[in-house]
Each structure stands twice: as structure tokens, then as C-alpha cells.
């Protein structure tokens, strides 16, 4: 399939009507998979209506590819049913774990970047890709603690992509947040991660906590993240860029303005390359 640059938004409840009543100037929308992994009713109907108008990416938060116990087969079967119905542009989830011993944290928890964790994540991503019948994208997390490990996060991602064939959803804000929190250079990360595997980009904002940067996704994309986006874009092939806002959802025109800024940066990158 020919890849080309796309620009989209995360579809959030305050904007449902706008996306259904008008032709919003996006190339795709992304939804949280779990919000639509329900038996029926208005949510599934709405997603079918959205899908009839826009390509849809499914972005999950509960696959838990880092669980030492393996992946949840019932969860994967339900996601597969949604995938078969929606025929999404991408299916993604996070490099994290959420579940152990029947406890589900509903938070994206950090992994140690060890050989054991790599084996676990690779086995889980392989199982998920088999169950879904397609390649997944794995998103780099933002994190607030780091463990002693044999690898850096970018080394871990390189090995994961090489061993499973999965793609990457690069969250530029997450790189920035983790870089500040753990004291590494975000540009070193971006230059060393597997650029050829990136298929989608998230752009978002963050907040300053008491001690650490917090990945709140409730702010406009800050200059620091735009700078990193402009830095990494020339190293990537055509990718799908998306503004991701999860809280304090602003009017749609504000998000579209941010998306226009992304388009402008991508346009300048393309001009320079030509």
C-alpha cells in the first residue's frame, strides 16, 4: 500500500456531532478502542457512522503488552471483532503494562528495559498480531520512574520492532516528558529510535507537576514538542500526524489550528527535501 502523509485528530465526545454533521478537514480520526469494545448501542452505531465518513485508527489502552502473565485472549477476541467491523487505518497500544494477578490498574505502567521484559513484550506483541491478523503500532510511553535495565527505551524499541515486525506510534510529547523526567536528550532518542518503523505520530501537551513533568494531554502542543516534531520529521517516511487531547477538550477549531501548524511544518520539511 502506498503511504502518504495524513493529518488527523483524536475523536472526543464534545466533537462527535461536528464530525457527523460536517465534513471536518482531517484525513483520519483516532478513537480509544476500549470505548467502543461494547456489545452494542449508540457507541457502536456512532463509530460505524464516523467510519462511513473518515478513516479510523483504533488506539488502545488496555492490551498490556508488558504483562509478565501474557495477553488477555478474551480482550484480543473482542478487539478483533471491532477491527473486523471497522477496518481501521491502524491498531495501536502502548509499551507498558496494566495488569498482574487479576489486578488491572487502568494506568500505563512502566517497564524495565531488560532482556526478560523484551522477551515478554515480543511474545505478547506476536500473540496480539496473530490474534488480530495484522501488524500493530506500539506507542512509546511517558514515564515517571526508570528502572535499572540493560537497554535504553530507544534500544528496546529497535529490538521490539526488529523481532516482531510491529510499527511505531511515536508520541513526541511522551519523548519530551520522559527526557525531562529522566535527564536524557530527546534528540538523541529521536535520532536513535527505529525511524523506518514509525507510521503514526501523536502531538500533545503536558503539565508541570510538583517534581516531574506530567503527561496530562490537556494542553496545547508546546513549542518544545513542535521543535522535536520538526527535528524528527525529515528522518521519517510519510506518516500520519495527529493532535491528541484527552482532557480540557477545546473547541474543534483550536485543534484544527494545531493540525494546520503540523501540516505547515510537514510542508516545509517536504520543500526542503525536494
Amino acid at each position: 500500500m502506498q503511504r502518504h502523509a495524513r493529518f488527523g485528530l483524536g475523536l472526543r465526545k464534545p466533537h462527535y456531532a461536528a464530525f457527523l454533521e460536517h465534513r471536518v478537514a482531517v484525513d483520519f480520526v483516532e478513537v480509544i478502542s476500549e470505548n467502543f469494545m461494547v456489545a452494542g448501542g449508540r457507541p457502536r452505531e456512532l463509530l460505524r457512522e464516523v467510519r462511513a465518513r473518515y478513516p479510523v485508527a483504533l488506539h488502545g489502552v488496555s492490551m498490556s503488552v508488558g504483562s509478565a502473565e501474557g495477553v488477555d485472549r478474551a480482550y484480543l477476541a473482542r478487539l478483533r471483532a471491532l477491527v473486523d467491523e471497522i477496518e481501521p487505518l491502524f491498531v495501536s497500544d502502548h509499551l507498558c503494562w496494566t495488569r498482574v494477578d487479576g489486578f488491572n490498574s487502568h494506568d500505563l505502567l512502566p517497564l524495565p528495559y531488560t532482556e526478560e521484559a523484551l522477551d515478554t513484550v515480543c511474545a505478547n506483541v506476536d500473540a496480539a498480531q496473530d490474534a488480530l491478523g495484522r501488524t500493530m503500532l506500539i506507542e512509546n510511553p511517558s514515564s515517571y520512574v526508570a528502572f535499572d535495565g540493560a537497554m535504553t527505551e530507544w534500544e528496546f524499541l529497535n529490538a521490539l520492532c526488529a523481532r516482531t515486525g510491529c510499527g511505531l506510534l511515536l508520541d513526541v510529547n511522551n519523548v519530551f516528558v520522559s527526557a525531562v523526567n529522566h535527564g536524557f536528550d530527546a534528540r538523541v532518542y529521536l535520532d536513535a529510535m527505529p525511524a523506518d518503523r514509525v507510521r503514526q505520530i501523536h502531538l500533545a501537551g503536558h503539565s508541570q507537576g510538583a517534581d516531574l513533568l506530567i503527561d496530562t494531554h490537556d494542553q496545547p502542543v508546546p513549542a518544545s514538542v513542535w521543535d522535536l516534531y520538526a527535528h524528527v520529521l525529515p528522518t521519517l517516511g510519510p506518516v500520519a500526524t495527529m493532535i491528541e487531547r484527552d482532557d480540557a477538550i477545546p473547541p474543534l477549531h483550536e485543534l484544527l489550528a494545531e493540525l494546520s501548524a503540523a501540516r505547515a511544518i510537514a510542508g516545509r520539511t517536504e520543500s526542503l527535501a525536494a
Binding site: A39, S105, L111, P112, E116, N181, L212
Partner: protein, 243 residues
């Protein structure tokens, strides 16, 4: 330390670790964990929160999170035990748990399985002597002791709710989805009895006989017809099987 051991320790900290002695990053995770669950419960039980007040609701959420950590991949499942927690916290105020149950049932009906409703036109072609009624997959029923239906209606309308009261007679709440909208209705013991018979697999003719036995032929047939008409009109039924 193995990955499994690390994850078990991490999960134990999220549930009840001492934040004061933890690193800043671990405090962020513990706060995120609790804040996410609280936000979900606040969103799902807004009327219950309005009824018992913000401080009491916050205390109930904290007690619930301590009592029952989440186990499912979907947060929707986490809501299912909250009415029980409220029942334990408010044993002398049964309307609190009943109000929470109603909010939960409405939310579950909203995303329940789809099914084609039985229409009045379909009903004309049914052999009612042999038909067994099937309720929509979103249908739920619970006996209630209090005026929770009135409380919900007032709170939803932003009006001052009446005082909580124990109902003088046996009543039940039924909840289902009609045309993609969750609905509920308070029913009396006679209609509850008819529904329970139908859900136990008794033919409609047998239900009519049971009502006639209790209320006499004229009144019984009138009641059965009225129930059926209302159930059909409000899309509570799906296609019955002939057995």
C-alpha cells in the same frame, strides 16, 4: 528481580503503598491510579453523588477503591460493585444503593447488545397461545424498597428531590434500551410477577392464566393485554420463539 515480581510489587504499592515514603514518580502513578478510578465513578454515578453530597461520595469512592481493586480490562466493569459498597456504607438509607443501581443499570443498557424489537406488526402474526416472550438483552429488573425513581427524576431535572421514603407496597424497577436511549419504569408487584413468569420461559397463554387466577377473567385478561401492549410499544420485547 523478575518482571512478574516487579509488577506484583508495583501493583501492591498502587493499591495501598505509603506515598509519603515513596519516590516522586511512584507518587504520580499512585495518584493517577486513584484519580482515574474516582473520575470514572464520579462520571458514572453523578445522581448518587448529588444525592449524598460531594464529601460523602468522595469517602465512598475511597472506601470502594480500598475494598475492591479493579480487575477487568474495561472500567465499565468496575462500576458493577459500587452499589454494593454504598449498601454497606449506608445500611439505613437503602435509597442510596438503589439510586446507584439505577444509574448503573441505565449505563449498562446504553451499551448492551443490539436486538431487533418485536413490533406491533410482528405481533399480529404470532400464535399467542404458544408464544414465549423474550425480553430485550438490555432488560434488567430489581425490586426496590424506596422512592428511588422519583429521586432520580428530580435529580436529573435539576430539581430539589423529595425526601427519601419507603414505598408502601412491593415495587420493582425495570430498565431497558429503546431506540438507543436507556429507559426505566417503576412497576407494581402484578406486572413484576408477569415479567418473572415470562422470563422463566412460561408461554404468554400461561401468564394470562396466572393473572386471571389472581384477578378474575375480565380484569386478568385486561391486565395481560395492557402489559403486552405496553411492552411492545416501548420495545421491551424481541422476537418470541414458538416452542
Amino acid at each position: 528481580m523478575s518482571l512478574l515480581a516487579l509488577q506484583r510489587d508495583f501493583a501492591a504499592f498502587l493499591r495501598d503503598g505509603d506515598a509519603d515514603r515513596a519516590a516522586a514518580g511512584m507518587r504520580v502513578y499512585q495518584n493517577n491510579y486513584r484519580a482515574q478510578l474516582c473520575a470514572f465513578l464520579e462520571d458514572g454515578f453523578a445522581r448518587t453523588r448529588d444525592w449524598i453530597g460531594e464529601a460523602a461520595f468522595e469517602d465512598a469512592m475511597i472506601r470502594h477503591i480500598q475494598r475492591l481493586p479493579p480487575s477487568s480490562w474495561t472500567l465499565d466493569a468496575y462500576a458493577r460493585d459500587f452499589p454494593d459498597t454504598l449498601g454497606l456504607l449506608y445500611p439505613d438509607d437503602p435509597e442510596v444503593a438503589e439510586l446507584a443501581w439505577l444509574e448503573l443499570a441505565l449505563a449498562e443498557a446504553f451499551v448492551g447488545a443490539d436486538a431487533e424489537p418485536l413490533t406491533q406488526a410482528d405481533a399480529r402474526n404470532i400464535d399467542w397461545d404458544e408464544a414465549v416472550l423474550h425480553f430485550a438483552p438490555t432488560f434488567d429488573l430489581r425490586v426496590v424498597a424506596t422512592n428511588v425513581a422519583d429521586l432520580w427524576a428530580a435529580l436529573a431535572a435539576g430539581e430539589t428531590p423529595p425526601a427519601a421514603a419507603i414505598l408502601p407496597d412491593r415495587h420493582a424497577l425495570i430498565v431497558w434500551r429503546q431506540a438507543q436511549v436507556s429507559r426505566f419504569r417503576l412497576i407494581d408487584a402484578d406486572e413484576e410477577h408477569a415479567i418473572l413468569l415470562a422470563r422463566s420461559g412460561r408461554r404468554f397463554a400461561e401468564i394470562c392464566e396466572a393473572i386471571v387466577a389472581l384477578h378474575g377473567e375480565e380484569r386478568g385478561i385486561e391486565m395481560a393485554g395492557s402489559y403486552l401492549g405496553r411492552w411492545l410499544a416501548t420495545e421491551m420485547l424481541v422476537a418470541p420463539a414458538i416452542e
